[in-house]
């Protein structure tokens, strides 16, 4: 089976091949405005990657310890004490295979969906910009192929992230997906109305993520400094060794620990391992006495990186704004895959977190707090995608909290099921939004115009309503997704969320309370959303004329709905059905199969399900029984400042604006105007330098150049001229003078001869 493993580099290079094809031939693949060539190419590439991920899964079934497939050596720098050896090696083990399957599987479905969706989205833009026919064709070609270039680029980058076998390769993928996120969020950067907002959202994502990346990099530096290597296996082996042995002894370790926890100091584990050159032992190492402190610091910095990428407190503020991107982007990047990178990273580094229990608690509390805060904010949002964005942040909080509590199986389980149902919800919302826009256009064609007082916003839930009748399939799958997010058994979301709650109840009561309350609000806001969007009567003409989406859009929705419904079978907490736990156990030493009877607690499950049902009932009473009418304000607004507080996102952006952004702008303005412009430019440059130079040049040019140099040259000329004036007078023109001169000359010669030669 080892031969099959060597196919794994293709999983990254096939999407990149799709990038190249779409970059160079994308426009040529679209002869007409209805062609979908680049989208088909991108989807085929994504599908092929999924096939390779399946092959990896099958290969691992016979070889579950995992394999490192070396590809090339990127950095190899021997310094005096340590060697920086960073290979590009693909780590195929059970954890990365789960990630690969989720990323490529959901990714392929979203690529297919995006073909139909972007076709419509670009037509919307063409209509809004009033382009001519040729302009429209060229525009369509460029944007359509550009979109799928970026999507494939993202897919390849995410796969680099999850298949890297060392922290630096993971960071390469980390940065690349951040770039793709920026490119895709700001895809409509030149939208006539929202162009600046879109590009600003992209910049916000990139900049906030940068803060997280700083944490990540600091952690990487510390890891290399402490352990002398960046490869996962080596770092974790040395870390476990350093707990009980002096550090100098541990730096020779290259092999991973076996599952039972004993260090194998030399020799290799089975399978192909990329063993780098051994580092020379270091006699003295910094931080020697405080190893536990070092590991705690490392893990906290890793957490900072995770809060950036996975949108936790305090760096979650970019994700709601990222909804400015097209809906497939929101589904793929900001729900299913990129934002889970932080959870994956923490799970991968579980050895370090096990050695620093304090960090684990911090992670858990941050995750739980984020889950709670975001769930409450979602209650007060009116934009259909914003609700889902805060829901994503909240669910990521669940995953991060689970990882912090050491419940890695629960975290990965929820990561997978969340990918299914959140992608479903986002894609479903995209279908709703397109339905609304088509309804708006149908109105315009029939000569009507919306009689609503506000401008038309296809994403505002207050302008929807009664879409169950107009878009039944979308409504059905959306409700399936909503129910599973709310955690209603036997759908997938119930099993994964319940496992997290169970572990939280045992490990950290505060986290358990926060997460349970968050689960309550989750069910409430999803119920609110479903009642507002699909039930009641349409509140605007556009909603009344909305129509169902084509099969290219609805088929992925149906597939995802099926996965959301049955996905819980991955890891049922009964008897021998802990498939995921057993699977992950090979890669994640902290992932253990629970003892019989310990995997499920009727009390916890009962509380969470009961709260979810109560929340749904409450949402029905508030939003369902008396459906919202056009122009009516949200019934929760009776709570006054509380609802405003939730609607305004706990004023979190305003807080950052006041603490960070405004002072930074003032500082930048100070530097630009006072220091750079007034002082440096006006004073130093203009006054001192320019005037000194001008003065010096004046001195050199006037008295020196004109006076002395010109004077000397002119003086010589004058002298010659004067001399010649004088000498000219010899030429009198009188012949007799010349004759006299001749005679005198003869006389002189005669005198000379006489004096000289006569004795």
């Amino acid at each position: 089976m080892n031969g099959l493993f060597s196919l794994v580099p293709l999983i990254v290079f096939i999407p990149f091949a799709g990038v190249l094809i779409n970059v160079f031939f994308g426009r040529a693949l679209m002869p007409t405005r209805d062609s979908k060539g680049p989208g088909v190419i991108a989807s085929i590439m994504a599908g092929t990657s999924f096939l390779i991920a399946v092959l990896m899964f099958l290969a691992l079934l016979g070889h579950p310890e995992g394999v490192d497939v070396p590809f090339l050596t990127w950095i190899n720098i021997p310094t005096g004490e340590r060697t920086l050896f960073v290979p590009w090696t693909f780590k195929v083990d059970t954890l990365s295979s789960v990630m690969m399957l989720v990323v490529t599987g959901v990714g392929t479905l979203i690529h297919v969906y995006a073909i139909g969706y972007m076709h419509g989205d670009i037509e919307e833009q063409i209509h809004a910009r009033h382009l001519s026919q040729e302009e429209a064709l060229d525009f369509k070609r460029r944007r359509f192929s550009r979109f799928f270039t970026y999507m494939n680029l993202f897919l390849g980058s995410m796969l680099i992230l999850v298949t890297g076998n060392n922290f630096l390769m993971m960071f390469v993928g980390w940065e690349l997906v951040g770039l793709c996120s920026y490119l895709l969020i700001g895809f409509w950067f030149d939208d006539p109305v929202k162009g600046w907002a879109n590009s600003g959202a992209g910049s916000k994502a990139f900049i906030v993520n940068r803060v997280g990346d700083f944490g990540m990099l600091t952690a990487i530096f510390l890891i290399f400094w402490t352990f002398g290597t960046l490869q996962f296996d080596e770092v974790f082996a040395r870390a476990e060794c350093m707990v009980s042995h002096p550090q100098a002894e541990c730096l020779m370790l290259t092999a991973p620990l076996s599952i039972e926890g004993e260090a194998t100091a030399e020799g290799e584990a089975e399978g192909e391992h990329a063993i780098g050159p051994l580092t020379t032992p270091v006699e003295s190492l910094p931080f020697r006495p405080a190893f536990g402190v070092v590991v705690t610091v490392i893990t906290l910095f890793l957490l900072l990186g995770a809060t950036g990428k996975s949108a936790q407190i305090p760096l979650f503020v970019w994700l709601p704004d990222a909804m400015a991107g097209p809906t497939p982007v929101s589904a793929l990047i900001h729900a299913a895959t990129m934002v889970t990178a932080g959870v994956y990273m923490i799970t991968r580094s579980h050895v370090l977190y096990a050695l620093a229990p304090a960090s684990g608690t911090v992670v858990a509390i941050i995750g739980a707090a984020t889950g709670f805060v975001a769930a409450t904010i979602a209650v007060g949002q009116f934009d259909i995608k914003r609700v889902l964005a805060y829901s994503t942040i909240s669910q990521l909080g669940f995953m991060v909290a689970a990882a912090g509590l050491g419940a890695y199986v629960a975290a990965i389980f929820h990561l997978a099921t969340h990918a299914f149902f959140k992608a479903l919800l986002f894609l479903g919302s995209g279908s709703v939004i397109h339905g609304m826009e088509h309804g708006h256009h149908a109105l315009a064609h029939h000569g009507h115009h919306d009689e609503g007082a506000e401008p038309f916003d296809p994403q505002d839930m207050r302008q929807m309503g009664g879409l169950w009748g107009r878009m039944p399939l979308t409504a059905l799958v959306y409700i399936v997704g909503a129910l599973t997010l709310a955690g209603i058994p036997p759908l997938a979301g119930f099993w994964s969320k319940d496992e997290i709650l169970l572990d939280a109840s045992r490990e950290n009561p505060l986290a358990y309370v926060l997460l349970t309350v968050a689960a309550f609000f989750t069910a409430f806001y999803m119920g609110r959303q479903v009642w507002m969007v699909f039930f009641g009567t349409p509140r605007t003409e556009a909603a009344a004329h909305a129509h169902e989406s084509p099969p290219l859009i609805t088929t992925p929705l149906v597939i995802l709905a099926i996965l959301s419904a049955i996905g819980g079978a991955m890891n049922l907490p009964f008897g021998r059905l802990h498939f995921l736990a057993e699977w992950l156990h090979h890669s994640v030493a902290g992932a253990h199969v629970p003892a019989p009877g310990e995997g499920f607690s009727l009390q916890v499950a009962g509380i969470s399900t009961g709260l979810a049902l109560i929340a749904i009932l409450l949402s029905y009473l508030v939003y369902g029984a008396r459906p919202l009418q056009a122009g009516q304000r949200d019934p929760l607004a009776v709570t006054g400042p509380i609802f405003t507080f939730l609607n305004r996102k706990w004023y979190w952006d305003e807080l950052y604006q006041a603490i960070f952004v405004a002072p930074y702008n003032r500082l930048a303005k100070f530097f630009a105007e006072s220091i750079d412009w007034s002082f440096w430019h006006d004073f130093v440059h203009d006054s001192i330098l320019t005037q000194a130079f001008n003065g010096w040049a004046a001195i050199l040019s006037q008295p020196v150049d004109m006076g002395v140099v010109d004077g000397a040259v002119n003086g010589i000329a004058e002298m010659i001229s004067g001399t010649s004036e004088g000498l000219r007078k010899v030429q009198t023109g009188y012949v007799r003078n010349y004759a006299l001169a001749v005679a005198l000359g003869v006389v002189l010669i005669l005198i000379f001869l006489v004096v000289r030669f006569l004795p």
Partner: protein
């Protein structure tokens, strides 16, 4: 025939005579304003030189001196021809042969 040996006139007499004639010629060239008189003075100078040539030919019993006189006379004649032609041309334009009036090529 007288019986005493012929005594030659000493050569130095001829040379002195030639020098005096030459000096007179020079004086004439320098002091005259009439162009023709200047030419006459030049002829005088040339003839003085001729005399000196002949005297030396006689005293050195060498005919080279006398041959040279022929050359000098020929040159003198040619020179006078050209010079007189020039004087006629000048007279035609300036109506005078006073050389003091010919100073237009002055500095």
């Amino acid at each position: 025939m007288p019986t005493e040996t012929n005594f030659l006139v000493p050569t130095s007499y001829y040379i002195i005579l030639s020098a005096i004639l030459f000096a007179l010629g020079v004086l004439g060239v320098l002091a005259r304003r009439n162009a023709i008189l200047i030419f006459m003075s030049i002829e005088l100078m040339l003839n003085a030189a001729n005399l000196a040539f002949v005297a030396f030919a006689r005293s050195l019993i060498n005919l080279d001196g006398q041959v040279f006189v022929f050359f000098v006379m020929t040159v003198a004649a040619a020179e006078v021809a050209v010079g007189l032609a020039l004087i006629v041309a000048i007279f035609r334009s300036k109506k005078s042969i006073d050389i003091d009036e010919l100073h237009s090529m002055e500095g």
